[in-house]
């Protein structure tokens, strides 16, 4: 050892004198660490340095250092484990190891794509055609899929039932699929079971039923219009000839079918061609609202004929019992109690048949003091005259809830007017089992009570909650001790609670199926994702019942269509059907049938004295099946802008008479059943009548739906499912807070009206086309340098045609899905913190008992002189070179100054952490192209800037400009009315530029010199000059 080494040794000894962790560990002294080595090297001088490493390498210390994983300074776990510690660790390890043994971990290979799946580019979506089903009617859709996760639903623009539009339920069904409250397992008496366990359990009882030809088997479904499922169910019935298939759906169309039977002797579907109609008369039909079969297409056709710049406008007369968006769009509207609509129809028919001669009109009821007598008389005679003048190009549509006789009368009038074959068509019913559903469930309950039912399969639906109250379905289910009650459903709902077996249903986005649209066209429902919770579809359950052991949904559906389309080209046929979203040649052909008679016995006698109660499906949660859907719960209903609740609608005159104010609690009493609920004074509601909405007051809906609103089913009996008189209203005392998003629903202020929606009759418009134009301040009237756009390729703008907008709310849900907009809950809506980037304002004008009303969708106006931009202290909202007001979320510090200064109040602020950052399902659902905003950040409409960017990238790669037709914002794409047009206003040939050139184009609050890029086309109405006075 030379001096150098001894030096090093001294250093190390010094080092070792310090207390080291190793000292705890015996026999590990004299180690060399980096520090010591470098000190040693530093200490050596001159040429020796170059040899020193080699020399050092020979030492045992250096060798040791090479073998050590970490240098000495790094923290290491070198403690000698004590005996006690060892036992502790081992004990814990064993316990933990035991925990992992509970489930077999699935194999999860995490290798990158060896072979890239065709067409899948990470970050780019794929689109798949499918169909959404509501009460048996399909909405054809294209589903956007990001790496096999459905993230957005669009209409299938190739399909005649959609043409690109959707409805709110379709849009929001995406959230339903990802709903964390969905039933996630099969349960038997509340315990978790497997599908195999369920099959084992029913095999025996099913075999036993074979002996009695299935006399104890009952199947209860909702309306089935799926050809394959109907075929399955029929084969079950074939296997068990004594078994029965019952159908019930609370919002059904049995009156329509009964009316058709009355008129034609057979159930038929009635289809309308609104684009060919010059005069449309709606008898309590809300055909522009989601839930009316074919509404998406009808809105498109209706809007097409409401454009005064593109030819002849149609004229819409609405006689209605509950104010609806269809009534809002009417040129003439008459509020009439539902029970009196039949009288109106008869008066109309009589007046029409009198060939212009004055006849004795009866009017509704016998109340001479009826305020609308005069209007009623005039309406009947002018409508009759107008219809006569437009024979062959008019339509009478009757609401689903009107009694069969009114439908029959309408068929007769349509026939007499020569509309059939021109504007009105009859086809086979879409419903595969068009029976009277009320009778059907009545029979079922009777048999349950008679003890004839051994096995009850409830496939979808929630009859324990929504069956007619007088049948006592839930009670029957509870008390009759049916040995085998099976419920297949998306939720562990009120019915699941009363069944031994609950099977978690696969959502339609997770399973195979087929379904008919309103015109009969069949769409294949294809899954976008494997079932999140291994749910089973109705096809799979019925396949088992039909004796096809464990057939998959895919096999069932494909098998059925193979039978319909045998032949070698099946593969091509199947692929084309999947790709297009419908099966060619399945559209029903119109039938030529004639009503047997035009005289029908009156159904109900009007009693003008007693109060009428109407039961209506809710515009947001339908019959209650969407109760747990936050997007729909928070969707402001078209007329009241109500969220999260279903107050009782009552007319202003009646409320004044009874001394009631909005939010007062009342007790409704009908047939001995009582419900207490708050009221909402709805302008335009007929007097002596109230409307209640179904679908609320759920007990077992989930975190959003449970407890929201008031259950109205206890008032609804099988005899009068839609309306009846004799309801008793009493003040219950107290109030109930309601959450509306628009507290002030008029443009009138005490110091004059504000021209927010501008409107004129078509004659006025022809006379003075520029009536909507405001005096705008000169463009140079700003302190700041104007943005130069001349050189820019794109300058974005939007035009919204108020004439076309029917207030269907679809744009709101589409925007919510596209832009990851959170749901805030009722308490926050009450304060006013709803987050919708796009809202639809509803304004009432004039007589509160029968007002005119207007819809106005308001997204960010993307002002050229944006008041928000100049006041932001941190530059979080800035003007883009393409004219957008960009929102830079990362930069926002949340002063809310921009919102204060926004005259349109379209900015939304994350006052709290509104976004759910935790639930894994929602993480999968969100649009990956849009930032998920956090607390304290302002947000607003960006004209779907992510879509613009995507198309810019695509077009630049292809070295071309973005085409006018290819780029659509989410609201525009979903709009069934084509009311929203977005595009490049630097291109004079773009659709939006052309619309902005129309004389009725105006900017909202343009007098403030904001120069909004979103402009509105004023609403033009086409009133009958006879009725105008």
């Amino acid at each position: 050892m030379d001096a150098r080494h001894s030096r090093a040794k001294t250093l190390m000894e010094e080092e070792n004198k310090k207390p080291h962790r190793e000292e705890v560990c015996p026999g590990k002294k004299d180690k060399l660490d980096l520090k010591a080595v470098s000190a040693q090297i530093a200490a050596t001088k001159g040429p020796e340095y170059w040899r020193s490493l080699e020399e050092l390498a020979g030492t045992p210390e250096f060798q040791e250092m090479l073998h050590r994983e970490f240098p000495k300074g790094a923290s290491e776990w070198l403690d000698a484990v004590s005996r006690r510690g060892f036992l502790k660790l081992m004990g814990a390890s064993l316990a933990m190891a035991g925990m992992t043994a509970c489930t077999k971990q699935p194999m999860e290979p995490i290798v990158p794509y060896v072979r890239q799946p065709e067409e899948v580019i990470p970050g780019r979506p794929l689109f798949f055609a499918s169909a959404f089903t509501l009460s048996g009617y399909a909405t054809p859709i294209m589903v956007e899929s990001h790496l096999y996760r459905p993230t957005k639903i669009e209409g299938n623009d190739q399909h005649p039932a959609s043409l690109g539009g959707t409805d709110v339920f379709t849009q929001a069904s995406l959230l339903e699929m990802y709903d964390p409250d969905r039933s996630q397992t099969i349960t038997y008496l509340g315990d978790v079971r497997t599908w195999g366990g369920f099959l084992d359990a029913i095999r025996g009882p099913l075999n036993a039923q074979k002996a009695v030809q299935g006399a104890g088997i009952r199947i209860l479904t909702r309306t089935v219009s799926s050809p394959a499922l109907a075929d399955q169910l029929r084969s079950v019935l074939k296997l068990y000839p004594q078994a029965k298939w019952h159908v019930y759906e609370p919002v059904n169309r049995e009156n329509v079918l009964e009316g058709a039977k009355l008129a034609f002797g057979q159930p038929v579907e009635t289809l309308y061609k609104l684009e060919n109609a010059d005069v449309i008369v709606s008898l309590d039909a809300d055909f522009l609202c989601a839930g009316f079969p074919g509404n998406t297409r009808y809105i498109r056709d209706f809007a097409k004929r409401r454009n005064p710049d593109a030819g002849n406008m149609s004229r819409l007369y609405v006689v209605e019992s509950t104010p609806s968006s269809t009534g809002v769009k009417a040129d003439h509207r008459l509020p009439l109690r539902a029970i009196d609509v039949e009288v109106f129809a008869r008066d109309l028919q009589r007046h029409w048949e009198a060939k212009g001669d004055v006849i004795a009109l009866t009017g509704p009821g016998s109340d001479a003091a009826w305020a609308y007598k005069h209007e009623y008389m005039e309406m009947v005679s002018s409508v009759a005259k107008d219809l006569k003048a437009h024979s062959g190009s008019s339509i009478i549509i009757v609401g689903d809830h009107q009694p069969p006789v009114v439908h029959a009368l309408a068929h007769a009038i349509n026939q007499a007017l020569g509309n059939v074959g021109k504007t009105v068509f009859y086809t086979d019913p879409v419903d595969a089992n068009p029976i009277n559903q009320t009778e059907s469930i009545k029979d079922l309950v009777a048999e349950m009570r008679a003890g004839k039912v051994d096995m009850l399969f409830i496939i979808g639906g929630n009859p324990a909650y929504d069956a007619p109250v007088d049948l006592g379905f839930a009670d029957a289910l509870k008390t009759t001790n049916i040995p085998m009650r099976v419920h297949l459903g998306l939720y562990q709902d009120e019915t699941a609670e009363l069944c031994q077996w609950h099977l978690n249903e696969a959502h339609y986005l997770e399973s195979w199926g087929d379904i008919r649209a309103y015109d009969g066209t069949v769409s294949i429902v294809q899954p976008l994702i494997a079932p999140l919770y291994s749910g089973k579809s109705a096809y799979e359950l019925t396949a088992f019942l039909a004796g096809q052991a464990e057939a998959s949904g895919h096999e069932v559906v494909q098998g059925y269509w193979k039978k319909q389309h045998p032949g070698a080209d099946f593969d091509a046929f199947w692929r084309k059907s999947l790709h297009d979203g419908w099966i060619a040649g399945t559209t029903f052909t119109p039938k030529s049938i004639n009503p047997k008679t035009a005289n029908f016995p009156p159904s109900t006698a009007s009693d003008a004295k007693s109060i009428e109660i109407n039961f209506r499906r809710d515009p947001s949660v339908y019959d209650g099946c969407f109760s747990n859907n936050g997007w729909l719960q928070e969707l402001p209903k078209p007329m009241s802008k109500m969220t999260w609740d279903n107050p009782v609608f009552i007319g202003p005159a009646m409320a004044a008479r009874m001394g009631l104010k909005t939010e007062d609690l009342v007790t409704l009493e009908l047939n001995g059943k009582k419900v207490t609920a708050p009221i909402w004074i709805q302008a335009g509601h007929p007097d002596n009548s109230i409307t209640v909405f179904l679908g609320y007051g759920r007990r077992r809906a989930g975190r959003a739906g449970t407890g929201a609103g008031f259950d109205m089913y206890p008032l609804r009996s099988s005899a009068t499912p839609w309306f009846t008189t004799g309801v008793n209203i009493a003040k219950a005392g107290g109030t109930y807070k309601l959450a509306t998003t628009q507290g002030y629903q008029t443009m009138d202020t005490p110091v004059g009206a504000r021209p927010q929606v501008r409107t004129a009759s078509v004659d006025e418009y022809r006379k003075e086309p520029e009536f909507a134009k405001d005096e705008e301040p000169p463009k140079e009237l700003t302190l700041y340098k104007p943005y130069p756009y001349e050189k820019e390729a794109y300058v974005w703008g939007m035009a919204i045609d108020l004439d076309a907008c029917v207030g269907c709310n679809n744009c709101i849900v589409a925007c919510q899905a596209e832009n990851n907009i959170p749901v805030v809950g009722k308490e926050q809506v009450v304060i006013g913190r709803h987050m919708h980037w796009l809202r639809v304002d509803t304004y009432y004008q004039g007589d509160r008992d029968n007002p005119k009303a207007y819809f106005q969708p308001v997204p960010c106006q993307q002002c050229e002189n944006a008041p928000c931009e100049v006041v932001c202290p941190v530059g979080a909202t800035v003007h883009s070179t393409e004219g957008l007001n960009d929102m830079v979320y990362n930069r926002c510090v949340g002063t809310r100054y921009c919102s204060n200064n926004c005259p349109y109040k379209v900015r939304r602020f994350n006052f709290l952490l509104f976004q759910d950052w935790e639930t894994p399902q929602y993480k999968m659902m969100r649009n990956p192209d849009v930032t998920v905003r956090s607390r304290g950040v302002m947000e607003k409409c960006t004209y779907c800037v992510q879509r613009i960017t995507q198309h810019r990238i695509d077009s630049e790669r292809e070295d071309r400009k973005i085409q006018d037709s290819e780029l659509q914002t989410a609201c525009q794409q979903s709009c069934p009315a084509n009311a929203i047009v977005f595009g490049n206003i630097n291109d004079p040939n773009s659709q939006v530029s052309k619309l902005k050139g129309v004389p009725r184009n105006y900017g909202l609050l343009a007098d403030l010199n904001t120069r909004p890029r979103t402009t509105y086309l004023a609403e033009i109405r086409n009133p009958n000059s006879e009725l105008q006075s």
């Binding site: 304060i831 510090v893 607390r935 304290g936």
Partner: protein, 457 residues
């Protein structure tokens, strides 16, 4: 002893300092509050309550940081609520201190000498209370530093067209100058305290703060120059700070905000409320510490007159706003007026008119001007009125603006109230500490008011 100086022309005017004092007795009297007199139970009670309120404020702010500004009543369309109301109110209150110390100094109003010290302290504490609000009202307060222009790697720079950025500069400048002015003015008195205290710690602390003041002629010369310069700097701030604060509103397009009268009207309102606060502090202080000889009727009268004058300017502002609502023919301004008079917040507006215009007219009565109790009550009324004025401006303008569909209501939550009342606690706690540990009246400036100080030719 000589008679104290009396203005020959206005012989009936009350003196600025009661007769019978000498340099020594003035110094004794003021410094004894800090150094020798035992701390009263009243002080402990008052400070205790104020301290508890401060703790409540910290709790409210802590919860705010955890949950977000959603715990307040603000919403869309009322994006600013109590936080901004309180900010403007406190900033306004601070103005009287600067006016008294700077402008009155430059105008050689020597009566100010007995109230300027605590008026300046009041400014400082009011600005501290005010400064809290813009910070905590932000959605993401941890990013507040983004409002300052500083070199960074984020390629980020404030947006200088925004009045909020101007605010940052105006308020921070104001706070700095106010502090310097107050501290410079304190130096000779700190030296007095240093020299008079017997406690070692007090000697050390006052000694350090006195910056080595020995009272030499050179020191006095430098002091006078610095003080005058700072007064010169502070004078424009009296006008500019509230002008900039008023720009927060005047620059915006909201009806009720977008008006050119705001800068002068805000400044007048600020001084109005500031003097009210000075009186609310001075009256009890002179009572409890027996300082009626130093803060005399003359001071109360003068303050009351300033309030009367600024109150009339404020009244003129309201008048012009109402007139323009009608005269402009603008539908939004016309509605604003209607909404103030008949809308859901109309009681606030009537209360505002009563508190700020009608009740203060009582100040025309001489008897009330010289009655401490009456002045105290009137000042309280004015402070409430000025708070209501800011509430009307911020909330009532926002809650019903352009589109009728977007109208809303604002209801303050308990967190709003806790924060607001908490800042009053903070302000009072700071004032209690101030009167206890620093000379609340400028000793050396008081001495200049004595006849002894008159230079004999």
């Amino acid at each position: 002893m000589d008679e104290p100086r009396q203005p020959a022309t206005l012989s009936d005017r009350a003196p600025v300092i009661e007769p019978g004092y000498t340099f020594g007795s003035v110094t004794d009297k003021i410094s004894s509050i800090v150094l020798t007199r035992p701390t009263s139970n009243g002080w402990f009670l008052g400070f205790g309550v104020a301290f508890l309120l401060t703790m409540m404020m910290l709790y409210a702010i802590g919860y705010l940081f955890v949950r977000g500004v959603g715990i307040w009543g603000i919403t869309i369309p009322i994006g600013w609520g109590f936080a901004i109301v309180n900010f403007v109110w406190w900033i306004g209150i601070g103005h009287a201190g600067t006016l008294i110390s700077a402008i009155l100094l430059l105008l050689r109003q020597s009566w100010r000498n007995s109230i300027n010290r605590f008026a300046e302290a009041m400014t400082l504490f009011a600005v501290a209370c005010a400064g809290t609000f813009p910070l905590i009202h932000m959605g993401r307060p941890w990013l507040a530093y983004w409002l300052f222009p500083y070199p960074n790697t984020m390629n980020y720079w404030p947006q200088f067209r925004s009045p909020l950025v101007w605010d940052v500069f105006a308020v921070s400048t104001y706070a700095t100058i106010s502090f310097l002015f107050w501290f410079i003015g304190l130096v000779p008195d700190l030296a007095t305290l240093r020299d008079r205290s017997t406690n070692r710690w007090a000697q050390m602390i006052y000694g350090i703060l006195a910056l080595g003041w020995r009272g030499s002629a050179r020191h006095w010369h430098r002091y006078e120059t610095a003080y005058l310069l700072l007064a010169g700097l502070a004078t424009p701030l009296v006008l500019s700070v509230h002008t900039v604060v008023s720009f927060d509103f005047a620059i915006a397009i909201v009806p009720g905000w977008h008006t050119t009268i705001f800068p002068p009207y805000f400044v007048a309102g600020a001084i109005y409320s500031g003097f009210a606060m000075v009186l609310m502090l001075a009256i009890p202080i002179r009572k409890f510490y027996g300082l009626e000889d130093f803060i005399t009727e003359r001071h109360l009268q003068n303050s009351a007159k300033v309030m009367l004058a600024t109150g009339l300017i404020v009244a003129y502002g309201y008048g012009i706003e109402a007139f323009m609502g009608w005269y402009s023919g603008n539908r939004y301004d016309a509605f604003l007026l209607w909404n103030r008079l008949h809308g859901p917040y109309a009681p606030c507006y009537y209360a505002l008119l009563a508190c700020n215009i009608f009740i203060p007219q009582l100040l025309w009565i001489r008897k009330l001007r010289t009655s401490p109790l009456a002045l105290f009550l009137l000042s309280a009324v004015i402070l409430v009125g000025m708070w209501l004025e800011r509430f009307i401006i911020v909330v009532v303008s926002l809650h019903r603006d352009f589109l009728t569909s977007s109208w809303g209501m604002y209801y303050p939550t308990r967190w709003d109230w806790m924060t607001f009342i908490g800042t009053i606690g903070l302000f009072l706690a700071a004032m209690f500490l101030f009167v206890r540990i620093l000379p609340m009246i400028s000793i050396f400036e008081m001495r200049t008011l004595l006849p002894e100080a008159e230079v004999k030719e």
